[in-house]
């Protein structure tokens, strides 16, 4: 069976009305780069598709006095080219830049990436490192929660795209000493899902290398995007030097529990996640390739 109707609502309100009206027999579609691939092997059982690409508010990147907001149907290309995010969300920019190829980045969206809930979805990893919140609209109203809480398992999100609409993601504007960066390894330079990927956010004490706070998000190291909390704890409050960085690399290799897969064996992934954490911390230390609000000004 295939859908009978394809709707292109102009407001979030219309989109929700349609979802409610179709009683679970409609599905949100954004760029379709995941949904259409899945439909081929496992046909969707819906009567209607609701394309959210024409809703202006969902395509905005903006900030208020405290937070940065990224609309759910912002494309990866939009993120890559956003002057605001280049300054205040480098981990996200660097993650979006690695997604697929230009054609995929031009249509694929951050909302789709998160709702699709793959354990190594690149922008989902970056948003997890940023401790972002997800903003959701349903027939019952509006609510929000941490992005990380939406991931239930491989390809499983707590968000039901036949009932709920993600409207945006938000995170706090980085303050002094905050930096972020993204790293991944893949089988080739473009158009490849990651063997491992990593989003790093950290906050350094002013004028030295003592880590006030740190978040490390990695994939595919578990059934969902994974926060390496043991390694984070090890690093919190310590002076970031070469020896500590080495230790962090070993720690994360021990902490994660990846699986053997087509893209690499579990052992290989464990080893590689250590390497890219080390390199990310090193570049954070040097202030290279890393987001930092102060530096950019």
């Amino acid at each position: 069976m295939t859908w009978e109707n394809y709707y292109m609502p102009l407001t979030t309100g219309e989109a929700i009305e349609l979802l409610v009206e179709k009683q679970g027999k409609a599905r949100i579609i954004a760029g379709g780069t995941d949904l259409m691939v899945q439909h081929r092997s496992d046909p969707l059982n819906v009567r209607a598709l609701i394309d959210i690409g024409r809703i202006p508010g969902l395509k905005e990147i903006r900030e208020d006095s405290r937070r940065i907001y990224i609309g759910a149907s912002v494309t990866h290309s939009q993120i890559v080219n956003s002057a605001l995010l280049k300054k205040k969300g480098r981990v996200l920019v660097e993650a979006a830049r690695t997604v697929g190829a230009p054609q995929i980045r031009n249509v694929g969206t951050v909302g789709g990436n998160v709702v699709n809930a793959q354990p190594a979805a690149d922008t989902a990893i970056a948003l997890t490192a940023l401790d972002a919140r997800i903003h959701i609209l349903s027939g019952d109203g509006e609510f929000e929660k941490p992005v990380i809480d939406t991931f239930l398992g491989p390809g499983k999100s707590c968000i039901d795209p036949s009932k709920e609409l993600v409207t945006a993601f938000s995170y706090s504007i980085p303050g002094p000493g905050e930096r972020s960066c993204f790293a991944r390894l893949a089988r080739r330079e473009s158009l490849a899902l990651p063997i491992v990927n990593l989003g790093l956010w950290l906050c350094l004490e002013e004028d030295d290398h003592i880590l006030k706070d740190i978040r490390i998000a990695v994939g595919p190291m578990s059934t969902v995007p994974f926060r390496a909390r043991e390694t984070e704890a090890l690093l919190k409050g310590v002076l970031l030097d070469k020896a500590v960085i080495e230790k962090a690399g070993r720690s994360i290799s021990d902490e994660v529990t990846p699986r053997d897969s087509f893209r690499g064996s579990a052992d290989f992934k464990k080893q590689m996640i250590g390497v890219i954490l080390k390199r990310s911390l090193e570049s954070a230390l040097e202030g290279k390739g890393v987001d930092s609000d102060e530096r950019e000004q």
Binding site: A101, L185, R187, R188, E189, S190, L191, A192, L193, F262, G264, S265, F268, Q271, M272, V275, R279
Partner: protein, 757 residues
Amino acid sequence: MKFSNLGKETPILDGLEKVTGRARYVPDLKVEGMLHGRILRSPYPHARLKKVDISKAERISGVRDIITGKKVSQHKFGPMVPDWVILPDDKVRFHGDEVAAVAATSEESAAEALSLIEVEYEVLPAVFDPELAMAEEAPLLYEEKENNIATTFYVHKGDVDKALAGSEIVFEETYQTNQVYQAYMETMAAVAAPGDYERLTMWLSTQIPSMSRLRYAEALEICAEDLRIIKPHVGGGFGAKFEYKAHILAAVLARRTGSPVRMVNNREEDFRAGNPRVPMKIWIKLGLAKDGTLLAKDTRIIAGNGARTVYAPAITSTACYRIDSLYKFKNVRSTGYTVYTNTIPTSCFRGFGNAQMHFAMESALDTICHQYNLDPIKIRQQNGVTPGFTSIHGWEIKSCALKECLDKAVEESNWYDKKKEPAEKSPVKKGIGVAICNHVSGNRPFFKPFDGSSALVRLTPEGKAIVFTGEADIGQGMNTAFALIAAEAVGLDVKNVRTAAVDTDISPFGLGSFATRGTTIGGRAVYEAAVNLKKQLLEHLARVYEKKIEQITINEGQIYFDDQEDPITVAKAIQTISYTLGGTSLVGHGVFVPETVLPDENKYGNVSPAYPFGCHIAEVEVDTETGRARLLNYWAVHDVGRVINKQTLEGQVEGGVMMGAGWALGEDMVVKEGKLLNPNFHDYCLPTAMDTPRGRIYSYFLESGDPNGPFGAKGIGEPSLNPVPAAIANAVFDAVGVRVKNLPITPEKILEGLASA
């Protein structure tokens, strides 16, 4: 020599229609009343067909015919070994083997019918590794083939054992090359349509229009004359597009239904049942004098044939002995087994076995140089063949700029300076590696009756020339090369010359695109036809304009008389001539049959009219923490005899290098229990534009002027790939001291090598 058309960068003449999407390929064809064919493929690597029940499938509306092994003739045929049937009625032998075929009015009906065919399989023990398949206890694919060996090749010249015993350096190693996919843009495709006079027309995406016509006539048990093959634009082949089962099934369904039938592989079936590269395990033993002189070579190859024979036996024999004519060997021995396994049938892929052996030989030489402190450049110059040399197998090397290729590559890459650079302090290390290559331009034993070509060049009353050939342009730019050759030989502007699509009702018989033979053999026939046309043209000009032939010159479409200031155009003159001849076109006819011979029982005999050579130098960087190797720069120098079209030569070299780099650094058909795990472009990792060298691929062409090639030209298609995996493997070794002997060179293998160092 000064040329008006050759040696330039001429964009392919059909480039515009291709980049604008107007060019029509077989899958684009829509023939009135056309049915859609689909193939049911086996989900088991080895199984007896107990029952194939089509009763439910037949009831689907739109289904016009369903064939199974029980409904078609069971006579055997095949390109090399008669182990093909149209559809089997006894058993299937690989995961993807054809079980049944459907023709329906829509693709959807055909797909639905496929899903309703009920097959009862009795799963049989299967074997996937060629070496294991040779073991006594291995299950047999064909009862009559002992130890699953399809064919054995053996050659021995000189006295290898004695030479090895007398060698100061003896080196022995085993290398493995994996199975990779050609990844042409257009998948395998055919449209077959019944026509007048009870004939059948087939539009094929093929490299061999005339040969497939012979083979398909045999398969269909009809006279070849009743089969018309048309080859429109073809979206790449790289060796895969030879005889193909789906083409035959389209023809059978078309004949049974009386309707045109379209059969186009989807990408997944093309992966699962195409004609991928022959995987090989190569044991090699080399004997050398202390100074690096090669004294003996002994090899033993076990090659994977897959579940039925396409061209793997010829590929194995090529791997066994073609490289013996790259070096001045005096003692060589080689045994090659082509072995059946329950896997995808394997076949030609750019390099034809020679590429596999180049990986082994050129890697081995590199290791020997490292171990015995010999210079990898000098050892190749010292042992490489030279002009006028006749190799141990009787191959007559006429033109050869191998030494100059090495010199040029060394100079352009700054080889010796780079070799002296100290190792990097960072975890990312640089390295540089060299490999050389030879190949053929034509291969006499490939088609037993002959190797050669013929062509027609027709000059129309409008002053345009059309080249008719049976050789197949499959995207490589051969049609443009032929137009350039004809234009140069007659004295026309290439803008007014084109090459017609192959249509066996009109075109001469042509063996097709393989063995890097198109430009050399096909091009020489075009040259002869053009020369013949020019002779006719001059005679008619002399007659009509009342001049002596010596008074006439033709250049770039202009005709000059020595007693007349202003030239006249060919267009004007030919119209005048044509009208005196009842409106005829002038037709030049050309034939080229090189003086090559079928090798005798000891494989002695010159197989090719010309031999191309080349030298590649790869520069890589290897990340010692992640194990990833990346290309930095690449220098490819080729002896092409003569540059016909610089642009397509560069295209072939850049394509060949990247195709080889993909193979060397990651491409792999991952098979588990006979099932291909990565039949798509997501998991089968071809290099992308982003994976090309950080710096550049530099290509250089040396012109040794071969006496047999048109204007001296030799081929480029396969030599551009042959040395690549070895050059990269050698560069990786230079960077980090890790020798990867089994392709591909993955990060895991490099890390493993580093860890055990």
